[in-house]
């Protein structure tokens, strides 16, 4: 599953450490998320969508293989 976290974060002028602090995770988690190495829980995805003020499906790009 791909995501736009890096792009959305950069658009808001946030550093990885700042984003990590806002959603109470480690910076390493943000790095892994941005690299697409780690798929977050629904709760963390929800927190990210709240921070970026856009729906989850705009933050995380679900491909055909992720669908039903």
């Amino acid at each position: 599953m791909e995501n736009r976290i890096k792009e959305l974060r950069a658009a808001r002028g946030m550093t990885q450490a700042e984003l990590a602090e806002i959603i109470s995770v480690s910076s390493r988690t943000i790095i892994s998320l941005e690299k697409g190495q780690y798929n977050p829980s629904v709760l963390l995805a929800h927190k990210l969508s709240l921070v970026f003020k856009c729906p989850i499906e705009e933050v995380f790009l679900f491909g055909d293989e992720d669908g039903i």
Partner: protein, 139 residues
């Protein structure tokens, strides 16, 4: 914190007592002597390590450090890493222990060594099955 220090101090005292017992009292029996030395040394080293760790931790604990520690502890990626690491350790350790049990039985090692290894294999298997049933009902 005080409870941890108290436990470490008790462990240290018990460790020293066990080593002293091994040196001065259980000199006739090899098994008791070895057990006292082993347990005593393990308790002594673990307790001393905990005490040193607690004193270092106390020296560097600031509100900022505590906040970082809390984040690291509750970070969902770290939790997942811990779970996977634990599962992998058991997955690798179980066949190694089974092989050790088999080799010890075939090589004619002392019966209590083979029984202890068998007991550990049964314990790990029971814990794994028990945990799976527990989490199957809870999750």
């Amino acid at each position: 914190m005080k409870k941890d220090i108290l436990i470490s101090v008790c462990g240290l005292a018990v460790g020293i007592i066990l080593i002293l017992l091994a040196v001065f009292v259980f000199t006739g029996s090899n098994t008791l002597n070895g057990a006292c030395y082993g347990l005593g040394a393990a308790l002594l080293v673990l307790s001393a390590g905990n005490l040193v760790g607690a004193s270092v931790k106390k020296a560097v604990e600031t509100p900022e450090v505590l906040k970082i520690q809390a984040v690291e502890e509750h970070d969902e990626r770290n939790i997942r890493i811990r779970e996977r690491a634990g599962w992998n350790a058991v997955r690798i350790f179980t066949p190694v222990l089974c092989a050790f049990t088999l080799v010890s039985a075939l090589a004619g090692a002392e019966v209590y060594v083979t029984f202890a290894a068998c007991g550990l294999v049964i314990l790990i298997t029971a814990l794994t099955i028990g945990s799976q049933i527990y989490y199957d009902k809870r999750l």
